[in-house]
């Protein structure tokens, strides 16, 4: 049985992932990047345990390094030249920094999709699909039945053929291909023949007579509503910030973090051509909201766990 965030309604799950993945790709601000990255790492580890840790060290981190290096080697924009190569191109700091930003975006998106895979199971996808395009959802469920069915039947057919013909011509590749083609042809005939019965069975159960309703085993509860509301509010806040060009970051030709403000202190690091402007109050609020949004599944899981502990200790 699913617990924590996984047990929430598919709409809540899907809405969450749409939000974090979209924002993860839109915001290049370092704070946002790190928040999203750490949240996805934590959630992935929470969901998959040791397997996730292994994945992060063997795949995610090398990927990050790889993207950073590749971008640094093949791009030559930016003002801060680290050194010149013999063909006249510059290796620049900006290219490396941007490479790192790019890499972080890519791996964060990947990690979110890993989590998506764990949380949004096949039947949740079917639910979302069914609400949108019910006919397609039915076709997909039928197809999901066909795949293992046909595979099993294919084995049965090739075994039947082998047992009946008892020929030892399997050693030649050409013969093996010929046998496989024959089996597929029998499979197709069999499938078409049986599809007629399936369609009879569908019609016998009033398929196509009325407008089909869509049944799902998911119930939208109060807490689903509450969490969905939280996500929506967070989305609105973050979206407004983005529209107002808040949490701005630019990496070409030199690094600028945050847009210029009338008050506050601006840091200029001359040696590496970096400008860091102060954050406005709204931007600080947005970051807080963004942290809340990205860590929402973990907060829910943690809360549930604490609740259990408390209940247990009462007994």
């Amino acid at each position: 049985m699913a617990t924590g965030f996984k047990s929430y309604h598919p709409w809540v799950n899907v809405m969450f992932f749409i939000s974090v993945i979209t924002f993860g790709m839109l915001f290049l601000h370092p704070v946002c990047l790190f928040v999203s990255f750490f949240a996805s790492v934590c959630l992935d580890i929470r969901l998959k345990g040791k397997k996730a840790v292994k994945e992060i060290f063997t795949f995610i981190l090398p990927m990050l390094v790889f993207v950073t290096l590749i971008n640094g080697i093949f791009n030559h924009y930016g003002m801060t030249v680290l050194y010149e190569i013999s063909n006249g191109n510059n290796i620049t700091l900006e290219a490396y920094i941007y490479g790192f930003v790019l890499g972080l975006t890519v791996v964060t998106t990947m990690l979110w999709f890993f989590c998506f895979n764990e949380i949004v199971t096949a039947d949740k996808i079917m639910f979302v699909l069914g609400k949108g395009i019910p006919k397609l959802a039915l076709v997909v469920t039928m197809a999901l039945r066909f795949v293992p069915l046909y595979r099993k039947k294919y084995t049965e057919i090739s075994q039947a053929q082998k047992g009946f013909m008892q020929s030892d011509d399997d050693k030649k590749i050409l013969n093996r291909i010929r046998n496989a083609v024959k089996s597929v042809s029998i499979l197709v005939t069999w499938a078409l023949e049986n599809a007629i019965q399936t369609s009879d069975s569908m019609r016998a159960r009033s398929y196509g007579e009325n407008k089909r309703s869509f049944y799902s085993r998911f119930r939208f509860t109060k807490s689903d509503g509450f969490v969905l509301l939280l996500i929506t509010i967070a989305d609105i806040v973050v979206a407004i910030c983005k529209l107002k060009d808040g949490l701005y970051a630019s990496y070409n030709p030199y690094v600028i973090i945050n847009s210029q403000k009338a008050d506050g202190i601006t840091y200029l690091i001359k040696e590496i051509n970096m400008m860091i402007n102060p954050l406005s109050t709204f931007e600080i609020v947005t970051i807080a909201v963004y942290i809340l949004l990205c860590f929402l599944p973990l907060i829910i899981d943690l809360k549930e766990e604490l609740n259990w502990r408390r209940l247990k200790s009462k007994i």
């Binding site: 009946f164 008892q166 029998i186 069975s201 016998a204 159960r205």
Partner: protein, 514 residues
């Protein structure tokens, strides 16, 4: 007024000269349990389909079918093909979705059905993980969830093993008795349903020959071969009241014999001394980390005899046959077949061996000499099937066509997997004749079968597989006579009354001698 009123129904399929249904009149009341029986191809299925409007075949129709309700459920023969979706819960909801019901209503009905059928544990399973019996039960449940007032079933248990068939029919009886749903069923297993049925309709060649209560039907000759054993024995003697169940049969037999104990003598089959296939210490599993399906099996199959392998579901019978046919290889142990003996196997679904468009082409593919083909065609009596597509044949016909192909291959050892599944008794007898003639030509026949009645009559030796091992092995007569549950109904009726009686013929012979 009756719930179903069929008046002078005559029907002919397009492009066919024969009328499929001739002037049928029948009325069925609410809550009745009606059994439709008759030979294959007598028009049972056509008649059933006329009762379900959406499935009614197209053709020339005269007469009327008046139904007082349109809530009709239809269960078909093949358990697999009726399933539409990939999850059990979705399959249960499928019909209800089609009716446009709301989710909470569907939940209520689904919960009810799952409890009634005892299938709560399966709800989250994929439909393809279920066994044949479970699939058919799911089909029944998903139709019952639509609350039909009439339930029509077209040979629902013909593809099931005896145990699942029994469970299915028991559930059906509950539906009829506890919910008052009208049941109309066609079946070959009359043994199990005659005791619960209210009315039996016998059809022959598109006509209704008799309509009466089960105990009266013994007088109709046409279905004599498929009657329950007690009734079959009675139909030859006709004394006192007609028994239907085994219990009534025993009582009747005791009365008829005046409480005396009889004994019949049959010569005992000798222990075989010539063997064709030898299996030695075989272990088998399907995957590396899977469980052993066969555990230390050793078996010698006698040459030139009909040898049967029986056993419960999943005991490893079919696997054993695959190993003999060399389509699976054991990871330990040996299968020894003399080099000069050729072997060939027919699968359970015989349609899988047809590769060509017509039966004739399929035969020609195996053997090119016309003379030999003609000889086999005559032997099997399949002249009228030659131009047909293999998938248009009935169960019995395709079994014959496939056997003809096997005969053309002319192997010395022939393997059959459940050859009598879904066949009616007349076809079974025809098949038995073929097996006999093969045996007389010195062929070794190995078959896997659940069909106790068939094996008791026609097999020479029997081996029982249990838990991946051979649990018993003896001449078929002794094998079934020594069993208490796993034996023929005639043997159960005669146990302790007529000693050594195994088949209905044995008992009849003994009674006639008196």
């Amino acid at each position: 007024m009756a719930q179903i009123e069929i008046k002078n129904l005559t029907f002919r399929y397009p492009l066919e000269e024969k009328t499929a249904l001739k002037n049928i009149s029948l009325s069925i009341d609410e809550g009745e349990y009606v059994v439709l029986c008759g030979k294959s191809g007598c028009g049972k299925t056509t008649l059933l389909k006329h009762l379900k409007t959406v499935l009614a075949p197209k053709g020339k129709k005269e007469g009327k079918v008046v139904l007082s309700t349109d809530k009709i459920g239809f269960v078909m023969q093949d358990p697999e093909n009726q399933i539409v979706t990939d999850k059990v819960w979705h399959e249960l909801a499928f019909g209800l979705e089609n009716m446009g019901l709301k989710s909470n209503e569907i939940t209520v009905r689904m919960a009810e059905m799952a409890t009634f059928f005892g299938i709560e544990e399966w709800l989250d399973k994929n439909t393809n993980e279920l066994s044949g019996g479970q699939k058919q039960m799911l089909n029944l449940a998903s139709i019952m969830s639509m609350h039909p007032e009439i339930l029509i079933l077209d040979e629902p248990t013909s593809q099931l093993d005896p145990v699942s068939a029994e469970t299915f029919l028991t559930t059906l009886d509950r539906i009829n008795k506890e919910l008052g749903v009208t049941v109309i069923i066609t079946e070959h297993r009359l043994e199990e349903i005659f005791p619960v049925a209210d009315k039996v309709v016998v059809m022959d060649d598109g006509e209704t020959v008799a309509v009466s209560s089960p105990s009266e039907i013994g007088k109709v000759d046409i279905i004599k071969s498929s009657l329950p054993s007690a009734m079959r024995i009675y139909s030859e003697i006709r004394k006192g009241d007609c028994p239907v169940t085994v219990r009534e049969g025993r009582k009747w037999l005791r009365e008829t014999l005046d409480n005396q104990v009889e004994e019949i003598k049959k010569e005992e089959k000798k222990k075989p001394d010539d063997f064709s296939v030898e299996i030695r210490d075989v272990f088998f599993r399907y995957s590396k980390n899977g469980e052993d399906i066969l555990k230390d099996i050793s078996l010698k199959i006698p040459k030139g005899e009909i040898f049967a392998i029986t056993g419960g579901n999943g005991a490893g019978k079919s696997t054993l046959l695959k190993i003999i046919a060399k389509t699976e290889v054991p990871y330990k142990g040996k299968v020894k077949i003399p080099k000069n003996l050729r072997i060939a196997a027919l699968p359970q679904d015989v349609r899988l061996v047809f590769t060509e468009k017509t039966v004739e082409l399929n035969l020609k593919k195996i053997c090119s000499t016309d003379e030999k083909i003609r000889e086999i065609i005559q032997l099997m009596g399949i002249e009228n099937l030659l131009s047909k597509h293999p998938y248009d044949l009935s169960g019995g016909e395709s079994q014959k066509a496939a056997t003809a192909m096997l005969l053309l291959k002319n192997p010395d050892i022939m393997l059959f997997d459940e050859p009598t599944k879904g066949l009616d008794n007349d076809f079974k007898e025809e098949f038995a004749v073929i097996l006999r003639s093969l045996k007389s030509k010195g062929k070794t026949i190995v078959m896997v079968s659940h069909d106790v009645e068939f094996l008791a009559k026609h097999a020479d030796y029997c081996a029982m597989v249990f838990d991946g091992k051979i649990s018993s092995y003896s001449a078929a007569r002794e094998f079934f006579l020594s069993n208490v549950f796993y034996t023929t109904s005639a043997c159960r009726i005669a146990k302790g009354i007529v000693r050594n009686a195994l088949t209905c013929e044995d008992v009849i012979e003994c009674l006639k001698a008196k």
